[in-house]
């Protein structure tokens, strides 16, 4: 589904990603871990097409298509979804209007008619239940005045609405209380299908207790320095990053 080859990228002339190789197949869950500032969110930005980040070398294909050629909205319509580490507020824009516009753009891209108002509201209701999000939130403006945890929940709600092929969850667990963490993780699991994939960016094992990864990668200083199965996350939890860092330097 996703193939990243020798990806280098810079922000304001500073090289952040220094040769990333990664392949994600349909049905897989990949976790990306790594110390602060190592480039995890930057990788998410590259995948979603944020202009701030300039790709200087390498290639990315998504379902066989050249991802780097696509505008951000096209990538989204092709099925890439990012649950933002810091979701922004859009004052005055109701969640309903926002989601309706988004869902219908996705449908249009696939050659489908826009949903009728009642079908749309039905879909909203269904997906709200799936991620157990409060109606009070979806009746408000996009993220406006939401608490940190509510924003994260709202990201997963949007994921449920858009049913992406590849979901990238950038620290979706941070800011969530214990119950919310479980709800959000359950939501993600319910959306899991053999034909879609998830990349989970996280610092903690607790999320991976629920969303069990097939692979865990450690991103350090712009490179994936170690990849293994789910046990790697446990090892990190125990030992921290020093052994990785030292290993790099050695």
């Amino acid at each position: 589904m996703l193939v990243i080859k020798d990806l280098h990228a810079k922000i304001n002339d500073k090289e952040i990603l220094k040769g990333i190789n990664l392949e994600v197949k349909a049905g897989e869950v990949h976790a990306i871990m790594g110390p602060n500032g190592s480039g995890k969110s930057t990788l998410a930005s590259v995948l979603t097409g944020r202009e701030l980040v300039e790709v200087t070398q390498g290639a990315i294909t998504f379902n066989g298509k050249d991802l780097l050629e696509m505008a951000p909205e096209i990538r989204a319509r092709e099925g890439i979804f990012l649950s933002f580490q810091y979701p922004v507020e859009i004052p005055g824009v109701s969640m309903v209007n926002f989601m309706k516009a988004a869902v219908n753009e996705h449908r249009k891209y696939r050659g489908l008619e826009p949903l009728t108002a009642s079908d749309f509201l039905k879909l909203m209701r269904e997906r709200k239940e799936l991620v157990e999000i409060d109606s009070a939130l979806t009746n408000r403006s996009v993220n406006e005045g939401f608490s940190g945890g509510e924003k994260k929940k709202n990201e997963i709600f949007q994921m449920a609405m858009l049913e992406p092929k590849l979901a990238i969850l950038d620290e979706t667990d941070s800011g969530l209380d214990i119950d919310a963490l479980r709800v959000v993780a359950n939501g993600v699991n319910k959306l899991k299908r053999p034909d879609n994939a998830v990349i989970v960016i996280t610092h903690y094992q607790r999320l991976l207790d629920y969303i069990v990864p097939d692979y865990v990668h450690i991103l350090y200083n712009g490179r994936i320095v170690k990849s293994a199965g789910k046990e790697l996350a446990l090892e990190l939890e125990e030992k921290g990053y020093d052994w990785i860092k030292n290993g790099e330097n050695a």
Binding site: T48, G49, R50, E51, L52, A71, P72, E73, A76, R77, F81, L82, F84, P87, V88, I90, P91, G92, V93, N97, F98, A101, A102, E105, H106, Y109, S141, V142, Q158, L162
Partner: protein, 482 residues
């Protein structure tokens, strides 16, 4: 980041103005220029009574002693008042009795503008007075309204048919000597709408006037007068467009509203005069005086405006809160793009006791435009317990445009409470990206974000207009963010 900004600005192209076509009809015009003979000519053409000639000449003579105001934050090129045609009318019967008497070209024009003159086709619940250049071409639903005693007709007709009402109220809110453009308007105005709602009547439909400039080299000077008698209610809409022309055209209107005891008037405008091209060539100079008086106790006047057009806008819809417990509102969205300039706001004059006012102004600037809010809240000595709340927000797209806020406060009563809040923000690249990531194009994202920003004002518009206004906001900023 810098590159991003540059790209945004490069793409400021301003989309095609949709209403820029010209209607090919025979137009009767008088020679260019302004003097007392021209005023007599207009008066004669309109077949007005003698008192109107006096009214016009008095205004003209006063205007000659005045100078164009310079205080606005605007750069207004010299206007040659002798180079303007003051009267242009489509050649047709003055007040067509039936639709068949209207030139099909004119009908087609208004159809194209989405304002069908055929009552069968009209949005139910909206009566329209359609004004092209200097005259009203058709007022719909007059009979239906007349059944309830509501008068809704062109100003020319009102002067002929309802002289007592007109004489009583015309220039009672905006005196002919009020300001430079009001004096000019009083001297040469050619048409507009008149509306009278009798005591105790709730007007059953929205009344609206649609102004269309068609002829070239002409100015449009229309005059609107709305009188709401005791315990009445009316909601009034105003829309306007003009062809795309390289020359600037002057539009200097006066709108007066009188609200008597317990009366309520809602006045909504969607102003979409041709704004000029992206280099600032052509466009309408929109110099308008709009003022309402809450004359009776418990009366209410509410101004809502969506200003997207015009090369230059100079406009301050105001409320004189004379009656005790009266209430004035001003809700505004003003968009400027490319080289447009707007200096707009309101005046709330608190005279009666317990008078209240609320001001919500949302400015949006893009391109190289300049957008100013100018507002005065004045509380006179006797205005016990007067209350005002003002919220003035500015949103910037790009860094070559300007937003300015000039709030003036004059409070002469210690019991008054006056609050003012102001914010300036930029449309965030991160907000746009967030929308992109959900599958929305940048254009749609900007549309969504500014409509969200302007929501409080848009919500004030009648339904039929709100949808139009939302689209218009998006269109006027098309291409302003890349």
């Amino acid at each position: 980041m810098v590159e991003e900004q540059d790209k945004i600005l490069e793409e400021v192209t301003g989309s095609e103005y949709k209403y820029g076509f010209v209607t090919n009809i025979e137009t009767e015009t008088i020679p260019k220029g302004l003097n007392e003979d021209v005023i007599r000519m207009i008066w004669e053409k309109k077949g007005e009574p003698d008192w109107m000639l006096e009214f016009r000449l008095k205004a003209y003579r006063h205007w000659q002693t005045m100078e164009m105001p310079q205080w606005a934050h605007l750069q207004i090129p010299e206007i040659d008042y002798q180079d303007i045609i003051y009267y242009a009318a489509p050649r047709q019967k003055a007040s067509p009795a039936s639709l068949d008497e209207i030139d099909p070209e004119i009908k087609a024009t208004f159809d194209k503008l989405g304002i069908p003159l055929d009552e069968q086709k009209v949005l139910s619940g909206v009566a329209v007075d359609a004004v092209m250049d200097s005259t009203s071409v058709k007022t719909t639903f007059r009979e239906t309204l007349a059944e309830q005693g509501i008068i809704f007709c062109s100003m020319s007709e009102a002067i002929r048919e309802h002289p007592d009402l007109v004489r009583k109220y015309l220039a009672s809110v905006v005196p002919v000597t009020d300001n430079y453009f009001a004096a000019l308007n009083s001297a040469v105005f050619s048409d507009g709408s008149f509306c009278y709602i009798p005591k105790g009547v709730r007007c059953p439909m929205e009344l609206s006037t649609y102004f269309r400039i068609n002829a070239s080299n002409t100015g449009q000077f229309e005059r609107t007068l709305i009188v709401a008698d005791d315990d009445s209610y009316v909601s009034y809409l105003e829309g306007c467009t003009a062809p795309m022309r390289d020359e600037n055209q002057l539009h200097a209107a006066v709108v007066e509203i009188v609200a008597l005891e317990n009366a309520e008037v809602k006045y909504s405008t969607v102003q979409n005069w041709y704004p000029g091209d992206k280099d600032g060539k052509g466009g309408i100079y929109n110099f308008v005086t709009k003022r309402g008086i809450c004359q009776g106790k418990n009366s209410k006047i509410s101004w809502t405006q969506v200003e997207t057009g015009s090369a230059i806008t100079w406009k301050y819809p105001s409320c004189i809160l004379l009656g005790d417990n009266s209430y004035g509102e001003f809700y505004s969205v003003a968009v400027t793009n490319n080289r447009q300039q707007a200096d707009t706001g309101t005046k709330m004059i608190h005279i009666g006791k317990n008078t209240r006012s609320r001001i919500v102004s949302k400015g949006i600037s893009a391109g190289f435009s300049n957008n100013s809010y100018r507002g005065l809240v004045k509380v006179l000595k006797g205005a016990e317990n007067a209350r005002n709340f003002s919220q003035c927000d500015s949103l910037l797209l790009g860094d070559k445009c300007g937003a300015h806020t000039f709030p003036y406060l004059e409070v002469d009563n210690p019991t008054a409470i006056v609050e003012h809040e102001a914010t300036t923000s930029k449309i965030g690249e991160d907000q746009i990206f967030y929308c992109n990531q959900r599958g929305l194009s940048t254009e749609d994202a900007v549309g969504l974000i500014i409509n969200g920003y302007a929501k409080e004002v848009l919500n004030k518009l009648p339904m039929e207009f709100a949808v139009e206004a939302q689209k218009l906001l998006q269109i006027s900023l098309e291409g302003s963010v890349g």
